[in-house]
């Protein structure tokens, strides 16, 4: 317990150094811009637009739902899962989005560090490896649903960033 504050400081140090170098305002702007960019990217993928939002797809419960993400850590956790899913899809359409999610998570950590929030790097789904069979059998469904839900989640995050989310 004694080394708790020190370890916390050491953990935050790389991000704090970033915060010093980059104005937090720029980080916030870049975060919002990047979210918009990802949303637009998803919109530009033609086959995602044709999917009906009213139709529910069963069997893809591992994809984060439409529950609101209220905190930065929850955002990071959600994005980590999406990144994990998209990376596993090995689709040309989503590789760039996966990279963008990587940047977005870094930005969120930077924002969290600016608020002195300890934001350990989220690991994604631990049981993801067991879902290999599901992914192989439903690549299209997974991609469409994942991108659709991601788009919604990002738009939700965009709105919450203006409200200064908590840790």
């Amino acid at each position: 317990m004694r080394c708790g504050p020190l370890c916390r400081f050491l953990w935050l140090w790389p991000y704090l150094s970033y915060v010093e170098a980059v104005p937090i305002r720029k980080v916030q702007d870049d975060t919002k811009t990047l979210i918009k960019t990802i949303v637009t990217r998803i919109s530009d993928i033609s086959h995602t637009q044709a999917v009906s939002s009213k139709q529910r797809v069963a069997g893809l419960d591992f994809i984060p739902g439409l529950h609101p993400v209220l905190s930065l850590s929850r955002m990071d956790q959600t994005l980590a899962i999406y990144q994990q899913i998209l990376t596993s899809l090995h689709s040309r359409n989503v590789i760039q989005i996966s990279n963008d999610l990587e940047n977005l998570r870094d930005l969120l950590r930077l924002l969290a560090s600016s608020k002195s929030c300890p934001l350990p790097r989220a690991r994604g789904l631990e049981s993801f490896e067991s879902l290999g069979g599901v992914l192989e059998a439903s690549l299209y469904s997974t991609e469409v649903v994942a991108l659709s839900r991601l788009q919604t989640a990002l738009q939700d995050m965009l709105g919450r960033l203006d409200l200064s989310p908590g840790c």
Partner: protein, 1166 residues
């Protein structure tokens, strides 16, 4: 007791036997050992070393000795011997020369005895054996070679190795059955050496390998004792690799190598080197555990030879083979390092040891030069010990290639002497600029860089390496140890292009170029790029352009590109559409705006518009221009004004009506904005009120003007409406008589411009403007008109005027009340045009005229000479010419008759050829000088007559027929009395000759005649010829007085000379009117030629005469021509006048004489 002892001994023996049978395999040593075999029946007791008992009672001790010495022994039998001959073989080595021998007793039991190896060396067969494990740990090798000179035949040598590798991991495993041994045949060479290979599994490296050899040589079989070894303990490394030597900065020799890669354990190395120099020779052998060895004090001009081998550092092992010897030779001057590759701005140092004449130069005496051209300042030197000098180059600049040399040569010199060897310094500018650009879809970043800066470094390879940070770039980018290479492709433009796709938009890509070269590697300064900050967006889409109706602005609209999501600014460029559009720029900084309007001067033109965008914060690049959009010409507003119009009135005087035709010019786009659908003429009269007439697109309209005043207005109508601002014209009978223009002038400036100028009379009417009309006069050409503002007084009319045509210009003052009376002029001055044209042509025509005149004059002169020769050269003396006798040459008709007669006498032949004989007598030489000019003689033909030949005469009062003078003379006469001017014959004087007896009389006659013609003060011609001039056969001379008495004209034909004379007469100064300058001289014998003077007729003044010219010649002529009579010269001249001789040639001379005469006369001009 004895039995008891025997039993004890027996037990011991059995124990020994079992021991030797179970575990007496010879342990293979890391070094070489020997196998020696000896035939049976060999007495070796005496050979046993002293102190070793042959009694079996000593077996126990001997066994222990054998175990201790790790010697083993067995029996070997010669199989080819019928008898069971036993060969005793044993192993021994340098460390232990005792060899234990097993011998069979009768019972077939072995017993052990210890024998000195020397016994075997002398009488047995001996082999050297060495066994080891290869470095790859897969192959066990035993090598054997024959030792000494074997007493047995060694042909047909066959060796087999039998081995067994027990599964049990024990140091001393039990000896397995013979059947379990595997056999391999060894490869033997002709040199009695064999090599046996035993594969060993990696897993059994630590197991004990049991083996023995079977040797068959010369029909005899040998079998070695059993050997045992753990392969891992006899590993023999390969020789070290990459052995090389270099001189360190401190002047030491560093020997370095790399260890064999397959060895699983650490090695120790043995380095064997020798130094050979003129100063020192040394050898050394050192064992080190590292892969380098430092030898201090390297010497210039030395040779170093080095070999290295390796061995397992910890535990047993076998020394590997020596590496190939490496020889390193140092020169008399040693640079270390000999070559340096570095980058611009860095600091490097060279060291040097200099040996001169077998002596090391003191480092304090060493100086450094660069490229043998520049001495390096001593402040850059440093002394490192007594022998080593050091030079440092700070802040290096890039090496400039000199021809094929791409390095700087650094010389270490002993004072003034530099060794020819040098160090090489390569300084490369590695400031390679890497520029990146992210595409408009934010998925790809393309980086470009040029390698031009390092092309001079041959043999180098370039590689872009990068490191990606998670977010953004650090303030000072640095080369990260963890970097990745990126493939780049050379483009046609010389740039390398590397593509990152996909990208991390907000990550920092720190990139640099790594330059690899044999001399080392260099890194360019790193550059960090965030892809998001180098975006080149896609150009805006859906660009449209239009001119807004009613507003009249150029409106441009567009759609922003999808990416980036950042705020954008836009740049618009627009211009009139054409081949080369002159663009104008307009910027829009409102990120959300999608349109902009700009003011353009021409609303009725087609504009081309393009838009591009860029991030509002300035990051990234401008996008490409969008595809151009074009405006469409359409009506924007009502026409700005109605057309200018004028009227043409066709008056019918009988009906008192006038047909008025209105003319107007069609509106241009700028005024019609942008088209005219129709024109409407509005009329207004006091009686009929106002009405309109639609004339469509026509540009004229005719109506009948019947009332006193008739006002008309022409409106232009387009799709928007009718023009608001229009011109009015009132036609008024009363106003048409109002004269307002006082004068009007037209000045043509050139064929395309006429200046119209006018003056006005004071008027009470308000002048609106003028209208000027012009047309070609006397032609039914189109009347052109122009509206002129009322304030100007002159106006330039630009039109295509024809200079040769006359124009009519009219100027109408137009008042509010109506059109006033015009001022009309019919033409602009035609002469002026011609004058201007002549002026222009003057520069061309005058030179032509002058050239033609010169050519004509030359032609005349040539013709004159020709004519002179034809006519006058050999004029015969009439006296001697039968056809001339009886002719009176004083009368003009005589001349005419002369030629007529002559012509008649010659019935054939051209006319011009015949007068030659005639002309001899009527040629007169004359000469004069008019002031400073020498006027050449000219000829006046006697044939030049006029109808008034008899009437006209120079001496009009004289009854004698005499020749009329030239025009000049006529002019002179005309000045005095016009009635006297009767020019007919252009010459007047002939000097005749008379008989010698009548000389005096005739002289007086001549004088009288001359006096009559020239001495008169009223400027009348004073001289004329007497009728008897030919009869007296006397040469007569005209001597013309001149202001230069010493110059006398050359030979002058008579008639023309007279003409010229008369011309001169007319030009003589007036003040000497009383003393004419032309005189006729009678030629008599020159009695006073000795005096050299002449007495003039009136002044009685003796004037000097150029006797050396004239009289001498005359005398010569006299001598040569018997007819030439000397005459006294009566000179009639004034005191101021000088003489001009006028010499006739009417003499009978031969052609030769005549020529002499001419030549001499020419001298008169001198």
């Amino acid at each position: 007791m004895t039995c008891q002892k025997f039993c004890v001994a027996l037990l011991h023996w059995e124990f020994i036997y079992l021991t030797t049978a179970l575990n007496l395999a010879y342990p293979i040593t890391p070094w070489r050992f020997k196998l020696s075999c000896m035939p049976p029946n060999t007495t070796y007791d005496f050979l046993l070393p002293t102190g070793i008992s042959k009694n079996t009672s000593n077996l126990n001790e001997h066994y222990e000795a054998v175990v201790k010495a790790k010697l083993n022994l067995s029996t070997t039998y010669f199989s080819n011997l019928s008898s069971k001959t036993t060969f005793y073989c044993c192993f021994w080595s340098k460390e232990d020369k005792n060899c234990s021998v097993h011998a069979d007793n009768i019972d077939g039991k072995d017993f052990v005895s210890t024998v000195n190896s020397l016994v075997f060396q002398q009488i047995g067969a001996n082999w050297n054996i060495q066994c080891w494990m290869k470095e790859d740990l897969k192959l066990f090798i035993c090598y054997m070679e024959s030792l000494f000179k074997n007493p047995f035949k060694t042909y047909d040598l066959k060796v087999h190795l039998l081995y067994v590798l027990p599964e049990v991991l024990e140091e001393s495993p039990p000896v397995p059955q013979k059947s379990s041994f595997q056999i391999v045949q060894c490869n033997c060479s002709v040199h009695d050496s064999c090599e046996c290979h035993v594969p060993v599994p990696t897993a059994k490296l630590n197991h004990t390998l049991l083996l023995y050899l079977k040797i068959k040589s010369g029909g005899i079989n040998f079998q070695s004792p059993l050997m045992s070894v753990q392969p891992i303990n006899v590993v023999k490394p390969d020789p070290p690799l990459d052995l090389h030597m270099e001189i360190t900065d401190a002047g030491h020799l560093r020997i370095s190598w790399s260890s064999p890669t397959l060895v699983p354990f650490q090695l120790q190395y043995q380095v064997k080197y020798s130094e050979n120099s003129s100063i020192n020779m040394r050898k050394a052998d050192e064992i080190v555990s590292t892969t380098s060895l430092l030898i201090d004090s390297v010497l210039p001009g030395s040779s170093y030879e080095v070999q290295v081998r390796g061995k397992r550092l910890d535990g047993p092992g076998i020394w590997g083979d020596w590496s190939t010897p490496l020889i390193f030779t140092t020169q008399d001057v040693v640079y270390f390092p000999p070559k340096i590759l570095t980058s611009v701005g860095s600091n490097v140092s060279f060291h040097c040891i200099y040996k001169s004449e077998n002596k090391i130069v003191s480092s304090k005496k060493i100086v450094w030069w660069l490229n043998l051209a520049e001495k390096i300042p001593p402040r850059q030197y440093a002394v490192v010990g007594d022998r080593v000098s050091k030079v440092t180059f700070p802040h290096l600049n890039a090496t400039k290639p000199r021809g094929k040399f791409t390095y700087d040569a650094v010389y270490c010199c002993n004072q003034q002497e530099c060794h020819h060897r040098y160090a090489e310094l390569y300084v490369i500018d590695v400031n390679i600029n890497i520029s990146c650009e992210t595409d408009g879809y934010l998925t790809k970043m393309t980086c470009r860089w040029s390698a031009n800066a390092i092309q001079s470094l041959m043999g180098s390879t370039l590689q872009l390496r990068y490191h990606r940070s998670s977010l953004y770039c650090s303030d000072v980018p640095s080369i990260h140890p963890m970097s990745e290479p990126k493939d780049c492709h050379l483009q046609r433009d010389g740039f390398y292009e590397c593509i990152f796709q996909p990208i991390f938009l907000l990550s920092g890509y720190t990139m640099w170029i790594k330059i690899n070269h044999s001399l080392g590697s260099l890194d360019s300064p790193p550059t960090c790029v965030v892809p998001d900050s180098v975006v080149k967006p896609l150009p805006p889409s859906s660009v449209k352009a239009e001119i807004t109706v009613e507003i009249g602005l150029l409106k441009i609209s567009w759609e922003k590109p999808v990416f980036p999501e950042n705020n954008l600014k836009f740049q618009i460029r627009y211009g009139l559409n054409g081949k080369e559009v002159q663009w104008k720029m307009y910027e829009v900084y409102e990120a959300k705006s999608k349109s902009a309007s700009v003011l353009v001067p021409d609303l009725c033109a087609v504009y081309a518009v393009q838009v591009r965008c860029r991030r509002l914060d300035g990051l990234g690049y401008w996008s490409n221009w969008s595809s151009p959009a074009y405006t469409v010409v359409m009506d924007i507003k009502v026409p700005t004004r109605g057309p200018e119009f004028w009227r043409i009135i066709n008056e019918d005087t009988t009906k008192k009506e006038r047909n008025v035709t209105l003319l107007w010019k069609p509106l241009m786009k700028n005024d019609s904005l942008c088209s005219v659908r129709k024109y409407v003429v509005k009329h207004h009269t006091s009686r009929n009120g106002t009405w309109s007439e639609d004339v469509g697109n026509h540009t004229k309209s005719t109506f009948l003007w019947t009332e006193q005043a008739h006002s008309v207005t022409v409106l232009a109508v387009n799709s928007i409406g009718a023009s608001f601002v229009n011109f009015n014209l009132t036609l008024s009978w009363l106003m048409s008589k109002v004269n307002s223009v006082q004068s009007l002038s037209a000045y043509p400036l050139n064929s395309s411009c006429v200046l119209l100028s006018w003056t006005l009379l004071p008027s009470d009417y308000s002048l609106m403007y003028f209208v000027t009309e012009w047309k070609i006069l006397n032609e039914d050409s189109e009347v052109k008109w122009l509206r002129i503002p009322p304030s100007v007084k002159k106006y330039y009319i630009h039109d295509h005027f024809i200079p040769i045509e006359k124009y009519q210009f009219s100027l109408y003052p137009v008042f509010m009340e109506g059109v006033g009376k015009p001022k009309i002029i019919n033409s602009f001055p035609q002469d002026d045009i011609e004058k201007h044209q002549h002026d222009a042509g003057l520069y061309v025509i005058v030179p032509i005229i002058i050239s033609s005149s010169i050519l004509l004059l030359g032609t005349l002169l040539i013709s004159h000479q020709r004519m002179k020769k034809l006519f006058w050269e050999d004029v015969p003396n009439p006296k001697n010419c039968s056809w001339a006798q009886g002719l009176n040459f004083q009368k003009p008709e005589t001349f005419e008759h002369l030629f007529i007669k002559h012509t008649e006498s010659v019935i054939f032949g051209p006319l011009l050829l015949e007068p030659e004989t005639i002309s001899e007598d009527i040629s007169v030489d004359t000469s004069w000088k008019n002031k400073d000019e020498m006027v050449p003689a000219t000829m006046v033909s006697v044939l030049l007559t006029t109808p008034d030949l008899e009437k006209g005469s120079v001496c009009t009062h004289d009854q004698h027929s005499s020749a009329n003078f030239s025009e000049l003379e006529s002019t002179v006469i005309a000045r005095e009395d016009e009635n006297r001017r009767q020019p007919s014959v252009r010459y007047a004087t002939l000097l005749g000759s008379s008989k010698s007896s009548e000389i005096d009389d005739e002289q007086g006659l001549i004088n009288s005649s001359v006096s009559k013609c020239f001495s008169s003060k009223d400027s009348q011609p004073k001289g004329s010829f007497s009728n008897s001039s030919w009869e007296i056969e006397t040469q007569a001379f005209f001597i013309l007085s001149d202001q230069h008495p010493n110059i006398i004209s050359p030979h002058l034909p008579f008639s023309e000379g007279l003409d010229e004379l008369l011309k001169l007469e007319g030009n003589f100064p007036e003040e000497n009117n009383g003393e004419r300058s032309v005189y006729y001289l009678g030629v008599t014998a020159i009695k006073k030629r000795e005096t050299g003077v002449f007495l003039t007729d009136q002044s009685q003044v003796l004037c000097p005469f150029p006797a050396h010219c004239l009289f001498t010649d005359i005398r010569i002529l006299q001598d040569s021509c018997s007819h030439l009579v000397e005459n006294n010269f009566n000179l009639e001249t004034s005191g101021q006048k000088t003489f001009v001789s006028y010499m006739p040639q009417f003499q009978i001379c031969s052609t030769q004489t005549q020529k002499i005469m001419e030549n001499k006369m020419c001298d008169l001009t001198v």
